[in-house]
């Protein structure tokens, strides 16, 4: 790869300074390093039980055997969980949570940036703080509340949890996003007699599509990947998200790395797919999620 790159460069510029070579060399080295876990996961997931016992995690599989993928999705042993139900649970819980928290954040962000009232900054700070607490600090009362409401060990309970604790970040991103919409636009609409709701529906919402993509990706990735709530607010496999299912799989198939790798890849696939297809928006969310940067 490095040779191909250098020759491509060489054609454009005649001189290839040693410093450029060093830069590309380092980048390629880091790229290889970053790809090591990806390599191990992909290679391992196609191995047979026999190969797991006889080969190291570094060797290529003899063939593209899908047995490990099948075992990861639905293990042959009974009561050993499996990723398939976890995938469905995660989807069931994540999608509504993403939609509700995005819309909610959009409304909050709109009001906080375009209809500022005395104390709006204080309200924003009050909301924002929730983003920077370790969730361990609210975990025990949360479990207790969900139990009292009959929502412990349910996907609804998890979805509600993710919606509530998603408010700070979705509000933050939308507030910053709407700040870039010129206030003149709002003023003009107000002069024409449009109210808060009408302006939101007719002006803000149509301009919000990129914002919703950024927030949606951010929320989807975070909720899908979350583990602490997932492992403490559920106990039955029927309501466990995919992160917990993967963790259980690793426990029950302690020695079979092919099944674990296949499980890891399957559970990562949705967020990976979103990342590969929409990495530009992912990066925007990443930067927006860290306040002004």
């Amino acid at each position: 790869m490095s040779a191909a790159r250098s020759s491509a460069r060489g054609r454009r510029r005649v001189t290839l300074r040693p410093s450029r070579l060093l830069i590309y060399g380092l980048l390629v080295l880091f790229a290889i390093g970053f790809l090591v876990p990806v390599y191990v996961a992909v290679v391992g997931s196609f191995k047979t039980l026999r190969e797991v016992n006889t080969t190291s995690i570094w060797t290529l599989p003899a063939s593209l055997d899908l047995g490990a993928w099948r075992s990861a999705l639905v293990p042959p042993l009974q009561n050993s969980g499996g990723i398939a139900s976890g995938l469905i649970n995660s989807l069931t819980m994540t999608i509504p949570a993403v939609i509700v928290s995005s819309i909610w954040g959009s409304i909050n962000g709109y009001v906080l940036s375009k209809w500022r009232f005395p104390g709006a900054d204080a309200v924003f700070a009050l909301l924002l703080f929730g983003m920077f607490i370790p969730y361990q600090a609210i975990l025990i009362p949360l479990v207790n509340l969900l139990e009292q409401l009959g929502l412990y060990d349910s996907l609804a309970g998890l979805a509600i949890t993710h919606i509530v604790y998603g408010i700070p970040i979705t509000t933050l991103i939308f507030r910053n996003y709407y700040a870039s919409i010129p206030s003149d636009l709002i003023e003009a609409a107000r002069v024409d007699g449009a109210g808060l709701v009408a302006i939101y529906r007719r002006i803000i919402l149509p301009l919000s599509v990129p914002g919703f993509v950024v927030v949606g990706i951010w929320q989807f990735t975070n909720i899908w990947n979350e583990f602490l709530f997932a492992v403490t607010l559920t106990s039955a496999p029927s309501s466990q998200p995919v992160t917990v299912a993967l963790q259980n799989l690793a426990g029950s198939f302690a020695a079979l790395y092919n099944v674990q790798m296949a499980g890891a890849l399957i559970s990562a696939l949705p967020t990976l797919l979103v990342y590969v297809l929409l990495s530009r928006y992912f990066i925007r969310g990443l930067l927006a999620g860290s306040l002004k940067g």
Binding site: Y24, I57, P134, F227, S267, K292, G293
Partner: protein
Amino acid sequence: MRTRLLAIGLLLPAVAASLVFVYGFIAWTGYASLTGWNQIRRLRNFLPDFPLVGLDNYRSLFSTPRFWPNDVVNNAVFTVGFVALCLAVGLLLAVLLDQRIRGEAFFRNLFLLPMSLSFVVTGTIWSWILNPNTGINQLLDPLGLGAFRHTLLGLPFLSPLWQVLDALHVNIVRPGLTADPRAALGTIVIAAAWQMSGFVMAMFLAGLRGISDEIREAARMDGASEVQIYRHILIPLLRPVLVSVVVLLGYVSLKIFDLVFVTTRGGPGVSSDVPSIFLFDSAFKSNQWGLGAAVAVVMLLATAVVVLPYLRWQLHQEQRG
């Protein structure tokens, strides 16, 4: 006036949710940490109906060697190692990618890819790579890594360093990796840095791109070398980014749970244990809810020390700018 009421009304659900689920729950946890709720019984009310025991939970917490000093020191060591490694790798990658590179998007997307994964996935994969019997040793020992390690560990003048690293559980020169209490915590730092370095890179790269080319040009005219320009001009200009990155990584690190849970679960022994695992075990596994709540309060305070000044700074900056 009606519009203003409507605006406030629209914010009310979020404010109410925040008051209950964030502030109310924190107060609840604080209260629970002062009660003797250390038994199996589920609560019948919304508040823990157990007698107050003052600071007993905190006393027993800080006289449990697993928590104090072990877990607290571990989390501090993990935080320092994790933040330092992420900063070093992330800043280097950002500067490298800032050199008008061909294929910049490819490299950038590759380095950021781990950010789209969960710590559970990362931990599952890395625990095999860092397993001394199956992982990286098998790949590198034939290339002489084993012998190199042995030589390094045998060097007399380095032995004080190894003693310190051993004691802090981060001596990854030890071939035992996740199975060696002297190295276990360090191996988790590596997996964590793999996941989060790309974030640092993205933040710094965005920062670098925000600095106008005129500044670089002016420095070049004055005869500064490229390295000097970064060292003395660009990187100092990125101080606000640096602060953000350190605080956000610190926040991630002080509550770290899933990665440790999946890779070593705090072991061997308690060599890589952290407060969040202790909380999980004491509250959710042993029904020591009051004790668990005390851990939660300690974790919150540790995070607040890092985050609150930062939040104030950010919000002030915003009002001024």
